[in-house]
Protein backbone atom coordinates (compact mmCIF):
# COMPACT_ATOMS: atom_id res chain seq x y z
CA UNK A 1 0.00 0.00 0.00
CA UNK A 2 2.90 2.35 0.78
CA UNK A 3 4.16 1.90 -2.79
CA UNK A 4 0.90 3.27 -4.10
CA UNK A 5 1.46 6.39 -2.07
CA UNK A 6 4.97 7.17 -3.31
CA UNK A 7 8.51 5.85 -3.34
CA UNK A 8 9.08 3.62 -0.28
CA UNK A 9 11.43 5.23 2.21
CA UNK A 10 11.15 3.08 5.34
CA UNK A 11 14.62 2.62 6.84
CA UNK A 12 14.20 -0.99 7.97
CA UNK A 13 16.89 -2.50 10.20
CA UNK A 14 19.19 0.44 9.42
CA UNK A 15 16.71 2.54 11.39
CA UNK A 16 17.75 0.70 14.57
CA UNK A 17 21.29 1.97 14.18
CA UNK A 18 20.89 5.46 12.75
CA UNK A 19 18.44 7.57 10.87
CA UNK A 20 17.40 10.62 12.80
CA UNK A 21 19.56 11.06 15.83
CA UNK A 22 22.26 9.04 17.52
CA UNK A 23 21.46 9.18 21.19
CA UNK A 24 22.75 6.51 23.61
CA UNK A 25 19.21 5.34 24.37
CA UNK A 26 18.85 4.25 20.73
CA UNK A 27 21.80 1.90 21.17
CA UNK A 28 20.42 0.51 24.42
CA UNK A 29 17.22 -0.12 22.44
CA UNK A 30 19.14 -1.82 19.63
CA UNK A 31 21.25 -3.91 22.00
CA UNK A 32 18.12 -4.92 23.88
CA UNK A 33 16.56 -6.19 20.66
CA UNK A 34 19.71 -7.94 19.46
CA UNK A 35 20.30 -9.64 22.81
CA UNK A 36 16.64 -10.62 22.94
CA UNK A 37 16.83 -12.22 19.50
CA UNK A 38 20.16 -13.86 20.43
CA UNK A 39 18.70 -15.35 23.59
CA UNK A 40 15.69 -16.61 21.66
CA UNK A 41 18.06 -18.31 19.19
CA UNK A 42 20.09 -19.78 22.06
CA UNK A 43 16.92 -21.01 23.75
CA UNK A 44 15.86 -22.92 20.61
CA UNK A 45 19.33 -24.45 20.18
CA UNK A 46 19.46 -25.29 23.91
CA UNK A 47 16.12 -27.13 23.73
CA UNK A 48 17.27 -28.96 20.61
CA UNK A 49 20.58 -30.08 22.18
CA UNK A 50 19.21 -31.10 25.57
CA UNK A 51 16.27 -32.95 23.99
CA UNK A 52 18.80 -35.61 22.95
CA UNK A 53 18.51 -36.93 26.52
CA UNK A 54 15.03 -38.18 25.61
CA UNK A 55 16.59 -40.46 22.97
CA UNK A 56 18.98 -42.11 25.38
CA UNK A 57 22.18 -41.92 27.44
CA UNK A 58 24.53 -42.35 24.47
CA UNK A 59 22.76 -39.69 22.38
CA UNK A 60 23.01 -37.30 25.31
CA UNK A 61 26.72 -37.94 25.82
CA UNK A 62 27.35 -37.58 22.09
CA UNK A 63 25.59 -34.23 21.90
CA UNK A 64 27.49 -33.05 25.01
CA UNK A 65 30.75 -34.04 23.33
CA UNK A 66 29.86 -31.77 20.41
CA UNK A 67 29.33 -28.69 22.56
CA UNK A 68 32.62 -28.67 24.43
CA UNK A 69 35.79 -26.72 23.76
CA UNK A 70 36.95 -23.11 24.08
CA UNK A 71 34.61 -21.87 21.32
CA UNK A 72 31.57 -23.09 23.22
CA UNK A 73 32.88 -21.64 26.49
CA UNK A 74 33.14 -18.29 24.70
CA UNK A 75 29.61 -18.82 23.33
CA UNK A 76 28.27 -19.54 26.81
CA UNK A 77 29.98 -16.44 28.09
CA UNK A 78 28.31 -14.37 25.36
CA UNK A 79 24.97 -15.86 26.40
CA UNK A 80 25.75 -14.79 29.96
CA UNK A 81 26.58 -11.26 28.76
CA UNK A 82 23.33 -11.13 26.77
CA UNK A 83 21.33 -12.31 29.80
CA UNK A 84 23.01 -9.74 32.05
CA UNK A 85 22.29 -6.91 29.63
CA UNK A 86 18.78 -7.96 28.68
CA UNK A 87 17.66 -8.61 32.24
CA UNK A 88 19.04 -5.47 33.87
CA UNK A 89 18.13 -3.15 31.01
CA UNK A 90 14.73 -4.85 30.89
CA UNK A 91 14.12 -4.03 34.56
CA UNK A 92 15.06 -0.42 33.82
CA UNK A 93 12.57 -0.37 30.95
CA UNK A 94 9.83 -1.86 33.12
CA UNK A 95 10.38 0.89 35.69
CA UNK A 96 10.27 3.53 32.93
CA UNK A 97 7.09 2.01 31.53
CA UNK A 98 5.53 2.31 34.96
CA UNK A 99 6.38 5.99 34.88
CA UNK A 100 9.30 5.76 37.33
CA UNK A 101 12.40 7.83 36.67
CA UNK A 102 11.01 9.76 33.70
CA UNK A 103 9.79 12.91 35.44
CA UNK A 104 6.45 14.66 35.19
CA UNK A 105 5.09 16.67 32.26
CA UNK A 106 6.72 20.09 32.24
CA UNK A 107 6.40 23.36 30.38
CA UNK A 108 8.63 22.99 27.30
CA UNK A 109 11.03 25.90 27.54
CA UNK A 110 14.10 25.94 25.28
CA UNK A 111 16.57 24.28 25.68
CA UNK A 112 14.09 21.46 26.09
CA UNK A 113 14.49 18.97 28.89
CA UNK A 114 13.17 15.49 28.13
CA UNK A 115 12.49 12.32 30.06
CA UNK A 116 15.83 11.03 28.72
CA UNK A 117 17.58 13.51 31.01
CA UNK A 118 15.62 12.19 33.99
CA UNK A 119 16.30 8.64 32.90
CA UNK A 120 20.05 9.14 32.43
CA UNK A 121 21.13 8.26 36.03
CA UNK A 122 19.04 5.06 35.84
CA UNK A 123 20.61 4.12 32.50
CA UNK A 124 24.12 4.80 33.79
CA UNK A 125 23.44 2.80 36.96
CA UNK A 126 22.10 -0.10 34.91
CA UNK A 127 25.14 -0.01 32.62
CA UNK A 128 27.53 0.03 35.59
CA UNK A 129 25.76 -2.99 37.05
CA UNK A 130 25.94 -4.78 33.70
CA UNK A 131 29.65 -4.03 33.34
CA UNK A 132 30.30 -5.32 36.88
CA UNK A 133 28.43 -8.54 36.11
CA UNK A 134 30.21 -8.97 32.78
CA UNK A 135 33.62 -8.53 34.47
CA UNK A 136 32.81 -10.96 37.29
CA UNK A 137 31.42 -13.37 34.68
CA UNK A 138 34.62 -13.12 32.64
CA UNK A 139 36.71 -13.93 35.72
CA UNK A 140 34.44 -16.86 36.51
CA UNK A 141 34.42 -18.24 32.96
CA UNK A 142 38.06 -17.73 32.04
CA UNK A 143 40.17 -17.29 35.21
CA UNK A 144 38.67 -18.97 38.23
CA UNK A 145 37.61 -22.13 36.36
Amino acid sequence: MEKDRGHPNRLGIWGWIGGGSWGPDRYLYTLHRITGLGLLFYFVVHIFVTSSRAIGQSAWEESMMRVTGPLFVLGEYLVFVAVAFHAINGVRLVFAELGLGIGKPIEPIYPYRTCLDDQRPWAIGALLLIVALVVVGALDFFVWH
Binding site: E2, K3, R5, G6, H7, P8, N9, R10, L11, G12, I13, W14, G15, W16, G18, G19, G20, S21, G23, D25, R26, L28, Y29, T30, H32, R33, L93, A96, E97, L98, G99, I102, G103, K104, P105, I106, E107, P108, I109, Y110, Y112, R113, T114, C115, L116, Q119
Partner: protein, 276 residues
Protein backbone atom coordinates in the same frame (compact mmCIF):
# COMPACT_ATOMS: atom_id res chain seq x y z
CA UNK B 1 34.35 33.20 5.44
CA UNK B 2 31.19 35.05 6.38
CA UNK B 3 31.41 34.92 10.16
CA UNK B 4 34.52 32.95 10.94
CA UNK B 5 32.65 29.62 10.99
CA UNK B 6 30.46 29.31 7.92
CA UNK B 7 32.08 29.27 4.45
CA UNK B 8 30.90 31.83 1.91
CA UNK B 9 29.74 29.03 -0.36
CA UNK B 10 27.46 26.29 0.92
CA UNK B 11 26.86 23.05 -0.95
CA UNK B 12 23.30 21.79 -0.61
CA UNK B 13 23.35 18.03 -1.22
CA UNK B 14 19.69 17.27 -1.80
CA UNK B 15 18.03 13.90 -2.26
CA UNK B 16 15.91 14.26 -5.38
CA UNK B 17 13.16 12.01 -6.61
CA UNK B 18 10.57 12.65 -9.28
CA UNK B 19 7.91 10.02 -9.87
CA UNK B 20 7.89 8.86 -13.47
CA UNK B 21 11.41 10.18 -14.06
CA UNK B 22 13.55 8.50 -11.41
CA UNK B 23 13.53 4.85 -10.43
CA UNK B 24 15.44 5.63 -7.21
CA UNK B 25 16.20 8.87 -5.34
CA UNK B 26 19.49 10.50 -6.38
CA UNK B 27 21.74 13.01 -4.62
CA UNK B 28 22.35 16.32 -6.39
CA UNK B 29 24.66 19.14 -5.33
CA UNK B 30 23.79 22.85 -5.51
CA UNK B 31 26.22 25.56 -4.47
CA UNK B 32 24.81 28.79 -3.12
CA UNK B 33 26.24 31.85 -1.39
CA UNK B 34 25.78 31.87 2.38
CA UNK B 35 24.16 34.88 4.00
CA UNK B 36 24.15 35.60 7.71
CA UNK B 37 21.08 34.18 9.44
CA UNK B 38 20.30 31.80 6.58
CA UNK B 39 18.25 28.78 7.57
CA UNK B 40 18.12 25.50 5.70
CA UNK B 41 14.71 26.52 4.36
CA UNK B 42 16.15 29.82 3.14
CA UNK B 43 18.85 27.83 1.36
CA UNK B 44 16.27 25.65 -0.36
CA UNK B 45 14.41 28.74 -1.54
CA UNK B 46 17.66 30.13 -2.92
CA UNK B 47 18.36 26.88 -4.79
CA UNK B 48 14.84 26.93 -6.23
CA UNK B 49 14.97 30.59 -7.21
CA UNK B 50 18.44 30.67 -8.70
CA UNK B 51 19.40 27.15 -9.81
CA UNK B 52 16.63 24.57 -10.11
CA UNK B 53 12.97 25.65 -10.06
CA UNK B 54 11.79 22.03 -10.13
CA UNK B 55 12.94 21.38 -6.54
CA UNK B 56 9.93 20.50 -4.36
CA UNK B 57 9.41 20.60 -0.61
CA UNK B 58 6.61 21.50 1.78
CA UNK B 59 6.72 24.65 3.93
CA UNK B 60 4.44 27.37 5.14
CA UNK B 61 4.99 29.51 8.24
CA UNK B 62 8.82 29.77 8.28
CA UNK B 63 8.74 30.11 12.07
CA UNK B 64 8.57 26.59 13.51
CA UNK B 65 4.84 26.64 14.08
CA UNK B 66 3.12 24.88 11.19
CA UNK B 67 5.25 21.72 11.13
CA UNK B 68 5.33 21.51 7.33
CA UNK B 69 9.06 21.60 6.66
CA UNK B 70 10.20 18.49 8.55
CA UNK B 71 13.17 16.96 6.76
CA UNK B 72 16.43 15.12 7.39
CA UNK B 73 19.15 17.73 7.74
CA UNK B 74 22.63 16.25 7.84
CA UNK B 75 20.94 12.96 8.67
CA UNK B 76 18.94 14.29 11.62
CA UNK B 77 15.22 14.96 11.53
CA UNK B 78 14.31 18.59 12.10
CA UNK B 79 12.51 21.61 10.76
CA UNK B 80 14.19 23.40 7.84
CA UNK B 81 12.88 26.77 9.02
CA UNK B 82 14.41 26.74 12.48
CA UNK B 83 17.73 25.10 11.61
CA UNK B 84 20.42 27.70 11.10
CA UNK B 85 23.09 26.71 8.60
CA UNK B 86 25.68 28.27 10.91
CA UNK B 87 24.78 25.87 13.72
CA UNK B 88 25.47 22.89 11.44
CA UNK B 89 29.13 24.03 11.25
CA UNK B 90 29.72 22.43 7.86
CA UNK B 91 30.10 23.58 4.28
CA UNK B 92 28.00 20.69 2.96
CA UNK B 93 24.38 20.51 4.06
CA UNK B 94 22.63 17.27 3.17
CA UNK B 95 18.85 17.45 2.94
CA UNK B 96 16.62 14.43 2.48
CA UNK B 97 12.92 13.70 2.90
CA UNK B 98 11.76 12.37 6.28
CA UNK B 99 12.45 8.66 6.63
CA UNK B 100 9.75 6.05 7.16
CA UNK B 101 7.25 7.86 4.94
CA UNK B 102 6.78 7.30 1.20
CA UNK B 103 8.33 10.02 -0.94
CA UNK B 104 5.84 11.94 -3.05
CA UNK B 105 8.53 14.04 -4.73
CA UNK B 106 11.98 15.33 -3.71
CA UNK B 107 11.65 16.46 -0.07
CA UNK B 108 7.90 15.94 0.17
CA UNK B 109 6.90 12.91 2.26
CA UNK B 110 3.44 11.43 2.23
CA UNK B 111 2.29 11.92 5.83
CA UNK B 112 -0.97 10.03 5.44
CA UNK B 113 0.24 7.11 7.62
CA UNK B 114 0.72 9.62 10.45
CA UNK B 115 -2.70 11.19 10.03
CA UNK B 116 -4.38 7.80 9.62
CA UNK B 117 -2.91 6.66 12.95
CA UNK B 118 -3.77 10.00 14.52
CA UNK B 119 -7.39 9.81 13.37
CA UNK B 120 -7.73 6.22 14.59
CA UNK B 121 -7.03 7.39 18.16
CA UNK B 122 -9.79 10.02 18.21
CA UNK B 123 -7.61 13.02 19.11
CA UNK B 124 -10.38 15.22 20.46
CA UNK B 125 -12.50 15.60 23.58
CA UNK B 126 -14.98 12.73 23.86
CA UNK B 127 -17.89 13.14 26.25
CA UNK B 128 -21.40 11.90 26.62
CA UNK B 129 -22.91 15.40 26.87
CA UNK B 130 -22.63 16.07 23.15
CA UNK B 131 -25.36 18.72 23.28
CA UNK B 132 -23.19 20.87 25.56
CA UNK B 133 -20.31 20.54 23.12
CA UNK B 134 -22.45 21.46 20.13
CA UNK B 135 -24.23 24.32 21.89
CA UNK B 136 -21.91 25.32 24.74
CA UNK B 137 -23.42 27.21 27.65
CA UNK B 138 -20.17 27.67 29.57
CA UNK B 139 -16.65 26.40 30.15
CA UNK B 140 -15.61 23.08 31.64
CA UNK B 141 -13.73 23.56 34.88
CA UNK B 142 -10.06 22.63 34.90
CA UNK B 143 -7.41 23.57 37.46
CA UNK B 144 -3.94 24.77 36.51
CA UNK B 145 -2.42 21.53 37.85
CA UNK B 146 -4.80 19.46 35.75
CA UNK B 147 -3.88 21.44 32.66
CA UNK B 148 -0.14 20.98 33.31
CA UNK B 149 -0.61 17.20 33.21
CA UNK B 150 -1.18 17.34 29.44
CA UNK B 151 -0.11 20.82 28.29
CA UNK B 152 3.39 19.75 27.23
CA UNK B 153 1.97 17.17 24.85
CA UNK B 154 -0.49 19.61 23.31
CA UNK B 155 2.34 21.58 21.71
CA UNK B 156 2.78 18.91 19.02
CA UNK B 157 2.75 20.40 15.50
CA UNK B 158 2.59 17.02 13.68
CA UNK B 159 5.84 17.67 11.79
CA UNK B 160 6.59 13.90 11.83
CA UNK B 161 10.26 14.37 12.79
CA UNK B 162 9.73 11.93 15.68
CA UNK B 163 8.41 9.21 13.38
CA UNK B 164 11.36 9.64 11.04
CA UNK B 165 13.76 9.14 13.95
CA UNK B 166 11.89 6.32 15.70
CA UNK B 167 13.61 2.92 15.25
CA UNK B 168 10.33 1.09 15.81
CA UNK B 169 8.66 3.07 13.01
CA UNK B 170 11.64 2.10 10.82
CA UNK B 171 10.69 -1.57 10.85
CA UNK B 172 7.06 -1.64 11.95
CA UNK B 173 4.37 -0.13 9.71
CA UNK B 174 1.61 -1.19 12.14
CA UNK B 175 2.92 0.88 15.07
CA UNK B 176 0.89 4.08 15.55
CA UNK B 177 4.02 6.11 16.23
CA UNK B 178 4.91 8.86 18.70
CA UNK B 179 2.64 11.56 17.25
CA UNK B 180 -0.63 9.65 17.53
CA UNK B 181 0.22 8.03 20.86
CA UNK B 182 1.34 11.28 22.49
CA UNK B 183 -1.88 12.93 21.34
CA UNK B 184 -3.97 10.02 22.62
CA UNK B 185 -2.30 10.42 26.01
CA UNK B 186 -2.82 14.18 25.85
CA UNK B 187 -6.59 13.63 25.56
CA UNK B 188 -6.73 10.68 27.97
CA UNK B 189 -5.12 12.91 30.61
CA UNK B 190 -7.33 15.91 29.93
CA UNK B 191 -9.87 16.08 32.77
CA UNK B 192 -12.54 17.36 30.37
CA UNK B 193 -12.27 14.15 28.35
CA UNK B 194 -14.02 10.85 28.97
CA UNK B 195 -12.71 8.90 25.99
CA UNK B 196 -10.19 6.49 27.55
CA UNK B 197 -12.44 3.49 26.99
CA UNK B 198 -13.08 4.52 23.39
CA UNK B 199 -9.35 4.75 22.65
CA UNK B 200 -8.36 1.70 24.66
CA UNK B 201 -9.04 -0.83 21.90
CA UNK B 202 -6.40 0.74 19.68
CA UNK B 203 -4.01 1.50 22.53
CA UNK B 204 -4.07 -2.00 23.97
CA UNK B 205 -3.71 -3.56 20.49
CA UNK B 206 -0.68 -4.18 18.33
CA UNK B 207 -0.60 -0.58 17.10
CA UNK B 208 -0.40 0.73 20.64
CA UNK B 209 2.41 1.94 22.93
CA UNK B 210 3.73 -1.53 23.79
CA UNK B 211 5.73 -1.52 20.56
CA UNK B 212 7.75 1.38 21.96
CA UNK B 213 10.90 0.26 23.78
CA UNK B 214 12.04 3.68 24.88
CA UNK B 215 14.74 4.50 22.36
CA UNK B 216 13.84 8.12 23.09
CA UNK B 217 14.70 9.41 19.62
CA UNK B 218 11.27 11.01 19.29
CA UNK B 219 11.93 13.24 22.28
CA UNK B 220 15.47 13.96 21.16
CA UNK B 221 14.49 15.35 17.75
CA UNK B 222 11.16 17.01 18.66
CA UNK B 223 11.50 20.69 17.67
CA UNK B 224 8.81 21.75 20.15
CA UNK B 225 9.95 19.93 23.31
CA UNK B 226 6.82 17.79 23.37
CA UNK B 227 8.66 14.73 24.73
CA UNK B 228 6.51 11.99 23.12
CA UNK B 229 8.57 9.26 24.82
CA UNK B 230 7.40 10.51 28.20
CA UNK B 231 3.77 10.58 27.04
CA UNK B 232 4.04 7.01 25.77
CA UNK B 233 5.58 5.68 29.02
CA UNK B 234 2.94 7.48 31.09
CA UNK B 235 0.28 5.98 28.84
CA UNK B 236 1.70 2.50 29.48
CA UNK B 237 1.40 3.12 33.21
CA UNK B 238 -2.22 4.18 32.66
CA UNK B 239 -2.92 1.00 30.66
CA UNK B 240 -1.28 -1.24 33.29
CA UNK B 241 -3.25 0.44 36.06
CA UNK B 242 -6.43 0.00 34.02
CA UNK B 243 -5.72 -3.70 33.41
CA UNK B 244 -5.15 -4.21 37.15
CA UNK B 245 -8.26 -2.24 38.04
CA UNK B 246 -6.13 0.42 39.73
CA UNK B 247 -6.77 3.30 37.32
CA UNK B 248 -8.44 6.21 39.03
CA UNK B 249 -11.88 6.49 37.50
CA UNK B 250 -13.13 10.03 37.31
CA UNK B 251 -16.09 11.79 35.85
CA UNK B 252 -15.26 14.34 33.15
CA UNK B 253 -14.98 17.92 34.34
CA UNK B 254 -18.24 19.73 34.86
CA UNK B 255 -19.16 23.19 33.71
CA UNK B 256 -17.46 25.86 35.76
CA UNK B 257 -19.91 27.52 38.10
CA UNK B 258 -20.49 31.17 37.46
CA UNK B 259 -19.89 33.38 40.51
CA UNK B 260 -23.02 34.29 42.40
CA UNK B 261 -24.16 37.81 43.08
CA UNK B 262 -22.03 39.48 40.44
CA UNK B 263 -23.63 41.64 37.76
CA UNK B 264 -22.09 42.17 34.36
CA UNK B 265 -20.73 45.68 34.00
CA UNK B 266 -22.83 47.55 31.46
CA UNK B 267 -19.78 48.97 29.63
CA UNK B 268 -18.48 45.53 28.68
CA UNK B 269 -19.90 44.60 25.27
CA UNK B 270 -21.45 41.22 24.63
CA UNK B 271 -19.34 38.58 22.92
CA UNK B 272 -19.90 38.40 19.17
CA UNK B 273 -22.33 35.79 17.92
CA UNK B 274 -20.81 32.40 17.00
CA UNK B 275 -19.74 32.22 13.38
CA UNK B 276 -19.94 28.46 13.00
Amino acid sequence: MSNGKVPEQIVFRIRRFAPGRDMEPVWKDYTIAYEAGMTVLDGLWKVKESIDPTLAWRASCRMGVCGSCGMLINGKAGLGCNTQISELATSVVTVAPLSNFPIVRDLVPDLRPLFDAHTALSPYIIRSDSSEQEEPTGEYYQSAEEMESYLQFSYCIKCACCMAACPTCATDPIYSGPVALAQAHRYNTDTRDDGFEARKDVLAGEAGPWRCHFAGECSRVCPKGVDPAKAIQLMKRQLVADALGLRKKRLPAELAKKPDGIERRPDIPEAPAPTV
